[in-house]
Symmetry: C3
Subunit: 278 residues, 3 copies
């Protein structure tokens, strides 16, 4: 299979690159997740700098290895920093991730996320309803289990490929779309993980940060996106086996992000390529 397709070998190789190169992620993320995003990046093997003020956000985005822009708790000042970081990242060729937290139900940030997405994110990562809303489509996700949710977001994810290089919707089975080296659109499903991820805040935000780290060390955006999804899914499975509740789960999750190696990923990764349809 081509090196530009996200295979299990490709994500295992990406983990080795992450640990060897320790990419520096600039995070512009919400106050709920700021600590956990950084701890996940440090545990997984990357580095982090939370720089979200208007004086430094743009300049640092030129030098960082990857940038996370997460609109979870924006205010006027950080929204402006988001714009500066997104623009700089795009101009400088720094890979950057847009996490459209809360987009859909909240008009102000929905407009903000749409504006940010014009700076061509390397990856967009959200839950199904956020991806659907960001694409300007209507979701009917209420009452549907989260597995179906992520599959239901595939048409919206494909639409977003007009402005992003890759897109993922998280769910019981994560659904990712992007392109191979020939420009052909392909999809990837990533299974595994743990329902306990829903009981610990900021696990999705931290995945967004880890995507930014992997984008810095992988040959295509879709491989980077897939590697981050697989890394967290495998770590969450391992953590769930050791957990008595959300407290012990979160602790074991950080340990597992740190201890998993390429062989563990190869043995446990649940990843399949599929042909996405609108």
């Amino acid at each position: 299979m081509s090196r530009s397709v996200p295979t299990v070998d490709a994500v295992a190789e990406a983990l080795g690159e992450l640990r060897a190169r320790t990419p520096v992620v600039q995070s512009l993320t919400n106050v709920v997740s700021a600590n956990f995003v950084t701890n996940v990046l440090l545990a997984a093997g990357a580095s982090n700098a939370h720089i979200d003020n208007v004086h430094e956000a743009g300049g640092f985005a030129r030098a960082a290895d990857g940038v996370l822009v997460n609109v979870g708790t924006p205010d006027d000042a950080t929204a402006q920093a988001f714009r500066l970081a997104a623009r700089s990242a795009h101009e400088a060729g720094t890979p950057w991730v847009l996490d459209p937290v809360g987009v859909g139900g909240l008009p102000w940030r929905s407009d903000l996320a749409a504006e940010l997405s014009a700076h061509r994110p390397t990856a967009i990562r959200g839950n199904a309803s956020e991806i659907i809303a960001l694409a300007g489509m209507r979701g009917e996700t209420r009452g549907v289990d989260s597995s179906a949710d992520a599959a239901a977001a595939v048409p919206a994810a494909l639409t977003l490929l007009d402005r992003a290089e890759s897109v993922s919707a998280s769910g019981a089975v994560d659904h990712l779309v992007g392109r191979d080296a020939d420009g052909a659109v392909i999809g990837v499903r990533v299974g595994g993980g743990s329902a306990m991820l829903q009981r610990v805040t900021a696990t999705g935000c931290a995945l967004g940060g880890l995507v930014a780290a992997y984008l810095a060390v992988t040959p295509t955006p879709l491989i980077g996106l897939a590697a981050a999804h697989v890394h967290v899914a495998v770590a969450a499975e391992i953590a769930e086996a050791a957990a008595a509740g959300p407290g012990t789960f979160a602790v074991a999750y950080l340990d597992a992000l740190y201890t998993v190696d390429a062989d563990t990923l190869r043995a446990r990764a649940q990843l399949e390529v599929f042909e996405p349809r609108r």
Copy 2:
């Protein structure tokens, strides 16, 4: 006993309602506690959205199931968001909690909390000195142990019933006041808990968030307030037994908030109704 009195059965029933309905709490809380408040809500069985910007705070408070306004680390922008959320919650009938962190020693936030309290909070939750200060009374709490503190705040808590539907002062024994269905003022003492709660930051703030969640699923504000106090007290007792220090305590506390069920509450709840006196 009337269904409008906070009995052990009433709080056990409330836990079932919380888990069945997963109320969404909008939190406007301080940066120290933002992550822990959300993790406590997710562990206990509720949901959370931290929305504290001026563009979205008021609108979301109309749709949320409960709102927490915690003045722990205010600035000009979040203070304005507090005002908008409190006003909207009151107008829309969304139950809301005021947590007057630091009120008393700090004039600016003391004025802010007094202004917010005019929007008729469904519950006010604080420590004894904060409750006394918010009521405009003078505390002489220095050198007094925290159990006596909470009892000493009862007259102040009764005074605050002119603007809030229920009020609690946390201590070694928590003291709560509110009304039964006939409008008669009653008090509730909640014992148990753990001294280790003082060694982990944001446990009080997280209790405030959990009060907002319970207010959404209980027949009276005082029952909601009591259910939250009992839930955390029982979880803290269980956690203390497993803890070697504040680190393991916090982890075990999140696990226990998640694992406690109605039977555990019935077996362990230390709750008694009393006739409060000024």
Copy 3:
């Protein structure tokens, strides 16, 4: 040896004072570290109030026992609060710590930290590159291991004694400089600790907070600085022995900060006085 030299006995005694007096630290710190800084202070035996708004920061700095100013995630509003707190602390004689996070690579905060340092911090604590940059010197730290880094920052730390009473650079072996009671410049090396501290965010920031607490209870700034460095180094060693990764390390670290006593410090402290040279 004079009581004004940081011996193992002096830092063991300082721990007893910390526990006996529970100093209140006002923290003005970044959003990544806010929760962890407070939890470290509570675990170690101090108290904390995160007060970083322009209305309250200056006034509280007059009443607090110690103040931490950490420039990790500044914006215009908190930068102004930093100025007010630093000025008030200096005027009122409240010991205060400057943690110059990120200084060097980021011009805006570098200017801010330089401005703040004019208010004569009682201690400056950073990593080697930050100390070198704050001193206006050029670092050549790339490719050098962190142990060498901290030693390499000694000339810069000595330069900073023109505006601060004590200075430390963290590394595999921490290097501290200050003065004895006769005004003679002396250095202290603190070994031990754990490489796992690099895998948990905000451990350096939390050390800065603990320095502020110790400065409130020790006879000289250098003894306070050394006591905080030794307390965290010993706790980190104990935690590492119990850790399977960064998650369990962080939990065990909080436990160890709480459980270590004077005898543990005496048995484990790796501390030596040296004569620093430019």
